[in-house]
């Protein structure tokens, strides 16, 4: 059941962003607005409801990154920096895998 929830929530969020893309909004703009909207959804309790429904299908979207920074910053203001640091660590690790993927693909293509 949780996999179906993840599938549906992640799929619907992608459809919402795809609609914006079809209306000629640029990809970086959609991602930045999505990130910001994710943080706006926290005080309204929508983010928690979407995570409850979609689990990791919601957590691993850029939209939920806004929620991550919101809670991280709130915890930091309370003197607990771990959550804030963990989020940016995750961002660093994902970027590192991206760099490895890009360099690797370039090297493979160059060899051919």
């Amino acid at each position: 059941m949780e996999f179906i929830g993840a599938f549906i929530v992640a799929g619907l969020l992608c459809v919402a962003c795809q609609i914006a893309l079809e209306r000629k909004v640029s990809v970086p703009t959609i991602l930045i607005v999505g990130f910001a909207l994710g943080s706006l959804m926290v005080p309204m309790d929508w983010a928690a409801k979407l995570v409850e429904l979609g689990g990791a299908g919601m957590i691993t979207t850029i939209i939920d990154a806004g929620e991550g920074v919101f809670y991280g910053w709130t915890a930091l203001m309370d003197g607990e920096p771990l959550r804030f640091i963990t989020f940016f660590l995750a961002l660093g690790v994902v970027s590192l895998f991206g760099v490895i993927g890009g360099m690797g693909h370039y090297a493979l293509k160059k060899d051919k």
Binding site: A10, G11, V15, G57, I62, E67, A90, V94, G98, V99
Partner: protein, 131 residues
């Protein structure tokens, strides 16, 4: 008709990546325990690894072509976007350091702007909550 097709593919590919994330999330829960503060870090790192590896073998580019935002929105899409930027910079003849810098600039552009907005919202919420 083309728009409808794009929306369906975005839903299917985005949903499939969401379900895959749930697999990694369950794996993290089992490996680290439910009280670990690193469950999200592990799940996001796994999706980043998936995105980077799939880009390396040339599959993620196809996913992005078919699913567009279905493939962009997940953290695996962020890894793929970095990979694409780094590769494009290398093809243009940039040095490795400069290419990596361009990739990181992309992440900072998206995550930095989004994070600033999220920090402002969290601060306002805290101020309003404490009143």
């Amino acid at each position: 008709m083309k728009i409808a097709k794009n929306l369906v593919f975005a839903f299917l590919i985005g949903g499939a990546l969401g379900a895959l994330s749930q697999v990694f999330f369950k794996l993290a829960l089992n490996l680290l325990g439910p009280s670990s503060p690193f469950i999200c870090l592990f799940t996001l790192a796994c999706m980043g690894l998936f995105g980077g590896l799939m880009y390396l073998v040339g599959f993620y580019q196809k996913l992005e072509q078919w699913g567009q935002f279905g493939a962009f929105l997940n953290f695996s899409g962020l890894a793929s976007s970095v990979a694409m930027t780094v590769e494009a910079a290398k093809v243009e003849g940039d040095s490795t350091v400069k290419a990596i810098g361009k990739g990181l600039k992309l992440v900072l552009g998206v995550a930095g702007s989004g994070a600033i907005a999220a920090i402002i919202v969290a601060t306002i919420d805290r101020i309003l909550f404490s009143l």
